[in-house]
């Protein structure tokens, strides 16, 4: 067909469709704020499970935090864990059902504060699970308090004058610790603020899920994320701020890939 005769409606036909919402991301309206990184990551998790043909064996463990309702959005079996304990639940779910695809979805409070022990020990045992770790350096659900990953100088509702090392300690790059453990096979830090970053993050999630099914040990995919509401910025400004500030402390790339 020639371009000059082509109307938009001629293009919008099923045979021309190259991108659509994954079926496993159900139609429920997500409670996340406009522009929240969680939505993108949910979409990627749903796409990867779908593309792996793993909907019948996937088991997600939801955290406490903004993603507590992940089980309402991604259409697979889920258990909602107590705060920080997702890796312990995942350990049992996987050991008792080794043929299932078991993954956790955790925030920075869940993985790097209240659930540090469970997260590090599951990874250290080399549990055949994938951990998706959303690091947005703030507690979104409870209203923007300091996270273990909050940057120095960063203002939150519990560090209203900026995080100070002498008062609040230092930001914790927990995936750096995970990478040192013999039980992990793949530890990577990704982001989802640009189309290219989204593609890489998806490939990382896919690799992590495949590792878990191949019995290679624990995979951790950190997604350096924004919380534009908590940061009090527009979504686009939050992405820019993340690139300029978060990436210095949490550089993007593989920390371990075996």
């Amino acid at each position: 067909m020639e371009d000059k005769h082509m109307d938009v409606q001629d293009i919008i036909k099923p045979e021309n469709r190259v991108y659509k919402k994954p079926a496993l991301l159900n139609d429920t309206h997500m409670h996340y704020c406009p522009g929240c990184s969680h939505g993108v990551v949910h979409k990627l998790v749903a796409e990867v499970i779908e593309e792996m043909g793993a909907a019948e064996i996937a088991i997600g463990i939801a955290p406490v935090g903004c993603a507590v309702f992940a089980y309402n959005y991604i259409d697979v079996d889920w258990i909602e864990a107590p705060h920080g304990r997702a890796p312990a639940l995942a350990t049992a779910a996987k050991r008792l059902q080794p043929d299932k695809l078991v993954f956790t979805y955790q925030g920075d409070g869940d993985m790097a504060a209240i659930g540090t022990a469970e997260s590090l020990h599951a990874a250290n045992r080399g549990e055949n699970i994938a951990m998706i770790f959303i690091n947005n350096a703030i507690y979104g659900m409870t209203g923007g308090q300091m996270a273990p990953t909050t940057l120095l100088g960063m203002k939150t509702s519990t560090t209203p004058y900026g995080r100070r090392a002498d008062l609040n300690g230092y930001p914790l790059a927990i995936t750096g610790l995970m990478a040192q453990l013999d039980g992990t096979c793949y530890v990577t830090r990704q982001s989802v603020e640009t189309p290219a970053a989204v593609r890489k993050a998806k490939a990382a999630i896919r690799k992590a899920f495949e590792n878990s099914m191949h019995g290679k040990g624990t995979s951790v995919v950190e997604i350096v994320s924004t919380c534009n509401s908590g940061w009090k910025m527009t979504p686009a400004d939050a992405n820019k701020w993340m690139e300029e500030n978060m990436f210095k402390k949490y550089p993007i790339g593989d920390l371990k890939n075996e």
Binding site: I59, Y71, D77, R85, A88, L89, A92, A117, H121
Partner: protein, 361 residues
């Protein structure tokens, strides 16, 4: 097949678990129950039945592994002792709220705090009143012998699965550590995944044949639904109270005095009864086997005509509150207990009975 063995209570319950067809054990060592994990590791059931045994990094992790396994419809348990059980309360509350079956063994030691490693029954309140946050109950079974340590594992799981609620074996260090003859039951195979899907259609085991997804959660932000959830839990508890009260009554007919005691203290009370009979004092014993649901009616019945009740516990007086509620102040209720890990002698208990009720012979 059945097997007669001489072993500790803690060992017996580990063997009972394997023979029940348990799918998993998750625990953290603590005296006086570390034999449970040790026996399981020594038995290597993963090579025979396929049972998973894992030493967790903490009691918090252990109970949440149990939660994860229970949510998958698996036969799972943990064991610990008082301080460890305190740590587990968060997870136990979640398990109750999520309506999944699990078994928790508490081989009690003296508290509060780190306390002592010696026997105690001072976790009675924690066990029978809920323990963690929110309105919930555990089915609480109190074994008083090594045989019951074995048998109540099976009963505990049967009840937990029947009512989709956590059950607790509330033993004490004495029952856990003592050696007795025990008849271990004939082993049963673990359930297959198909059997789990049939028995537990709510279980988290993947959307086979793209069935509707399952979600196990304790969260519900719509208050009206949360209230309905709570009312459903309460209906289950009323059912359990109606159907599952268990107790043992010994010489309660026409007794002058009634002992109410559970676990190891019920055994000591039986010795006291023999000694008292020689002195012409008729004492009956009502031993609650289920501490929750509590055999209140049975105690009320057994106490009819008795001059008094003595509740004998290894605590400063916990079960006595439920006994008093049971008899509605119609009978005088006294208490005798030792604290700090001390187990009283039968002579001591008999003297206490005579003193408190001013019995002169």
């Amino acid at each position: 097949m059945e097997e007669v063995r001489l072993m500790k209570g803690n060992e017996a319950l580990a063997h009972a678990a394997i023979r029940y067809g348990a799918d998993g054990y998750f625990g953290y060592p603590i005296t006086p129950q570390s034999e449970v994990l040790e026996v399981l590791e020594e038995q290597r059931p993963w090579e025979t039945t396929g049972m998973v045994v894992l030493q967790a990094e903490s009691e918090l992790a252990a109970i949440n592994m149990v939660y994860g396994g229970a949510a998958c419809g698996k036969v799972v348990f943990t064991s610990s002792s008082s301080p460890g059980i305190s740590l587990m309360q968060e997870g136990i509350s979640y398990i109750a709220a999520s309506e999944v079956p699990a078994l928790i063994v508490n081989v009690m030691r003296g508290g509060p705090g780190l306390g002592t490693i010696h026997p105690s029954q001072a976790d009675y309140f924690q066990a029978v009143k809920g323990g963690g946050h929110g309105d919930y109950h555990l089915i609480v079974l109190a074994p008083s012998s090594v045989q019951e340590m074995c048998d109540f594992m099976w009963l505990g799981w049967d009840l937990a699965f029947k009512y989709r609620t956590p059950a607790m074996l509330l033993a004490d260090g004495l029952v856990g550590q003592m050696m007795e003859k025990v008849v271990l039951p004939e082993p049963r195979p673990r359930r297959t995944e198909e059997q789990v899907r049939l028995q537990c259609p709510w279980a988290i085991n993947g959307r086979k044949d793209m069935r509707k997804r399952n979600v196990v959660t304790s969260l519900e932000l719509v208050d009206e639904i949360m209230e309905q959830n709570n009312l459903r839990f309460q209906r289950t508890y009323r059912e359990i109270e109606k159907n599952e009260v268990r107790y043992e009554a010994i010489n309660t007919d026409g007794c002058d005095y009634l002992f109410v005691a559970f676990g190891s203290m019920a055994r000591i009370c039986q010795k006291v009864m023999e000694m008292a009979e020689e002195e012409g004092i008729k004492i009956g014993l009502l031993r609650p086997i289920t501490l929750w649901p509590f055999p209140a009616e049975q105690i009320k019945e057994a106490a009819k005509g008795a001059k008094g009740i003595m509740v004998v516990e290894l605590s400063a007086g916990q079960m006595i509150e439920d006994v008093k509620l049971a008899v509605e102040c119609n009978v005088e209720v006294k208490h005798y207990g030792r604290l700090g890990g001390i187990v009283p002698t039968p002579e001591e208990v008999l003297d206490a009975l005579k003193n408190q009720f001013a019995i002169v012979k």
